[in-house]
Every structure is written in structure tokens, then in C-alpha cells.
């Protein structure tokens, strides 16, 4: 059975832990954490990931810039990206989708929603 790798980019330690917890329900999924967009890009430069989950509002480099940078990199141009937004932030969500994000999850985060979205994008059973 093949193993998948996931990069979670989130500045809030609590939300990061919650996402890691939720993704831990998926077997064969290895999760790597990044504190912000810059840390995320650093990790993307050193390894390949099958899927990226990123928050939008982050210090140093926000999620929109991260999506743009990832999509302009030929290595990761096809990697599915899930953005995490608040319900009210519809403009950010639309912008992220235009930049190439594949799906979005709204806060407050529900573990079943996170799992379902990742399973769908990775085409897991």
C-alpha cells in the first residue's frame, strides 16, 4: 500500500495539532507541519508532498502567497492544495481558488470534513 505525504501550513499551534490529529485517522498518510508560508516553502523545497493544507491568515507569508508560489513551481504545480478559511472570508477563498487551490475547508474545523476532503483529493478509499 503506497504512503502519502501531507504538508500542513498553519501558524496556530492549536489548529495545527487539531489538523494533525484529524489527518492521523488516515492510514498511510505522513504529516509534516509548517508554522507559516515561508516555513512551508522551505519544506516544499526539500521534499515532495502529495497534498498541502494551508491556512490563509498567517504572519510572514500568508496562504494566498503560498498558493501562488506553489503553483508557479513546476515541481508542485499539480499538488492538490486545500485552503482553510473562515466562512466570512469569501473573497480570500475565491482568490485562492483562482490562484489554483483545489478545495477549501471552513472554520471551525470539523475532523470528518478534513478527512473527507483529503480522501477525495488523494482518491483514497
Amino acid at each position: 500500500m503506497s504512503e502519502y505525504s501531507c504538508l500542513v501550513v498553519e501558524d496556530s499551534p492549536m489548529m495545527r495539532q487539531l489538523l494533525v490529529f484529524a489527518l492521523g485517522r488516515l492510514k498511510n498518510l505522513r504529516v509534516t507541519e509548517a508554522d507559516d508560508g515561508v516555513d512551508g516553502l522551505r519544506k516544499l523545497a526539500s521534499a515532495r508532498y502529495d497534498i498541502i493544507l494551508t491556512d490563509i491568515n498567517m504572519p510572514i507569508m500568508d496562504g494566498l502567497k503560498l498558493v501562488k508560489r506553489v503553483r508557479s513551481d513546476p515541481t508542485h504545480k499539480d499538488t492538490p492544495i486545500v485552503i482553510i478559511t473562515t466562512e466570512g472570508a469569501s473573497e480570500d477563498r475565491q482568490r485562492a481558488l483562482q490562484l489554483g487551490a483545489n478545495a477549501y475547508i471552513t472554520k471551525p474545523i470539523q475532523a470528518p470534513q478534513v478527512i473527507a476532503t483529503v480522501k477525495e483529493l488523494l482518491k483514497l478509499e
Binding site: F21, A22, R25, P108, P112
Partner: protein
């Protein structure tokens, strides 16, 4: 004797011979006709025997066929019984699968519930700075509970007032100070019992959706006031009520611990200090 005489006299008489000959011929013809009839009857009977044999064979075949039909019907009946049993088992399996699916959803929901509580509890005590604790309290309120507008009030030194110390998304005219006596939030702090409007229907517009008292050593030291929830959050869930309990019981100690740590110059107590303090 008389026959002999007659015969002797007949021998002497041509007409008698003629008659006898005719009688003989007549008998012969009768015999021939009889034989012919017998032959004809024999042929007819032979034909009839063939017919009967054919009929017999046909009946035997029919009987055989009937027997096969009967066996087939029996088999069909058995198959029908098997089918009914299989359908019954399939129905049971489907019911079981449905029940297992429901159970799986319940388990996932329970998992999410406990994950939220675990992460919130774990993170709340993971910081020893006031800003770190406040950030985590904001995460619990905004990201886990889904509060769009909330404020934290703490009891003043004189104990008669509640002072606004932080919040998010609140209106500019939010009161910075509330009297313990006479205010709704003050009433909740005095009583130490949370006031929660589960689905936003029982309180008037503009009223807080939830007031959660913060306790420390059985004393209420302040309260969280949630004014508004995120658009998609229509009502509080079971997890939210557990998070309210967690906030009520652990936010105070986390804030006080961070305050003492920062006041003490970020110095961790040594073993000697703990022992001299009566550990």
C-alpha cells in the same frame, strides 16, 4: 351300418358325390374365408399391439417427463426457499451495514469531539506567557467554538467590577467596565453558573449568546462573553459545552500561571523552591 349302406348307395349315385363335393368345396371356401378373416384379424391385432406398444412407450415417456417436472418443481421450490433465505440474510446484512455505518459516523464524531477537547486542554497549558495563553484562548473561542465576537472580563481588585481585558469582533461601544451587582455578566460571575443560549432563540437581539464564568480555586475571577457566532454556526454543539467547561475551569489557572511566570522574570521554580513552599 346304415351310413355304410348310404355310402354304398351313394357310391352308386353321381348326384350324391356331386353334392358331397359341393359341400366339401363349400366347407373349404368357408375355411378359406375363416382363415382370411383370421389373417385379417391377426393383422389388425398385430397393428393394435404396435399401437398399444407405441402408446405404452409414449405413456412411459410422459411418466418420465412428469417425474422430471416434479423433480424440477421440487428443485424450484428449494431454490425459492434458498432465495428467500438469501434475501433475508442480505436484508440483515444491509441492516447491519447501515447500523455499522451509523456507528462509524458516531465514532468519528466522538473522535472529533475528544480530539477538540484534548487539543484545547493540551494547548491551553502549553504556554507560560500571557500572550501565548490569550492566543490559545482566542483559538478555542474563534476556531473551535466558532465565536465571531467575544470578550474577556476579569474581576477588578476591589472585586466589585468586571474589567474588559480583551476580545475580538466586538462592537466599539462594548462596555469596558461592568458592575458585579446589577449587570447580567456580573450576575453570572456571582452565581458561578454559565448562561448559554443554545440556538439563539431564547434571548433578545443584542443579548450575549453565552456567558461563561472563569473560576479559580472555587472563586469566580471573570467571564467570557460570546456575543455572536460565525455565520455557519447556528447552534452550540455538545463539544462546545465541554469546551465551555474547559475554559471555565482552566482559563483562569492558565492566565494566573502565565502571569506569575512573567512576573517572576520567566524563572522556573527549582526543586528547593517547591520543597520550601511545602511540596
Amino acid at each position: 351300418m346304415s351310413d355304410l349302406k348310404n355310402s354304398s348307395s351313394a357310391r352308386g349315385s353321381a348326384p350324391d358325390l356331386q353334392t358331397e363335393r359341393e359341400l366339401l368345396l363349400q366347407s373349404f371356401h368357408q375355411g378359406a374365408a375363416l382363415t382370411e378373416r383370421l389373417m385379417s384379424e391377426y393383422a389388425r391385432l398385430k397393428e393394435r399391439v404396435l399401437e398399444v406398444e407405441e402408446e405404452n412407450a409414449r405413456l412411459r415417456a410422459q411418466l418420465l417427463a412428469d417425474d422430471r417436472v416434479a423433480r424440477l418443481l421440487e428443485q424450484v421450490e428449494r431454490l425459492e426457499r434458498d432465495r428467500a433465505e438469501l434475501l433475508s440474510r442480505t436484508k440483515q446484512a444491509e441492516e447491519l451495514r447501515g447500523s455499522l455505518s451509523e456507528r462509524a459516523i458516531e465514532i468519528e464524531s466522538e473522535f472529533a469531539h475528544f480530539a477538540n477537547l484534548y487539543v484545547a486542554g493540551n494547548q491551553l497549558h502549553a504556554s507560560l506567557t500571557l500572550q501565548g495563553v490569550w492566543q490559545r484562548l482566542r483559538d478555542i473561542l474563534g476556531q473551535l467554538i466558532g465565536a465571531a465576537s467575544y470578550a474577556l472580563y476579569l474581576r477588578s481588585e476591589d472585586g466589585a467590577r468586571l474589567l474588559f481585558v480583551g476580545g475580538e469582533g466586538f462592537p466599539h461601544d462594548i462596555p469596558r467596565e461592568l458592575a458585579i451587582e446589577g449587570s447580567k455578566v456580573g450576575g453570572v460571575v456571582s452565581a458561578g453558573i454559565a448562561k448559554i443560549d443554545e440556538d439563539g432563540t431564547s434571548t433578545a437581539a443584542g443579548e450575549p449568546r453565552a456567558i461563561i464564568p472563569l473560576t479559580l480555586a472555587d472563586k469566580a475571577i471573570g467571564a467570557f462573553v460570546i456575543h455572536r457566532l460565525l455565520e455557519q454556526k447556528l447552534r452550540f454543539s455538545r463539544t462546545d459545552f465541554e469546551l465551555f467547561k474547559l475554559l471555565g475551569q482552566h482559563a483562569g489557572p492558565a492566565l494566573v500561571g502565565a502571569f506569575l511566570f512573567e512576573s517572576g522574570g520567566h524563572k522556573l521554580p527549582s526543586a528547593e523552591a517547591l520543597l520550601s513552599a511545602g511540596f
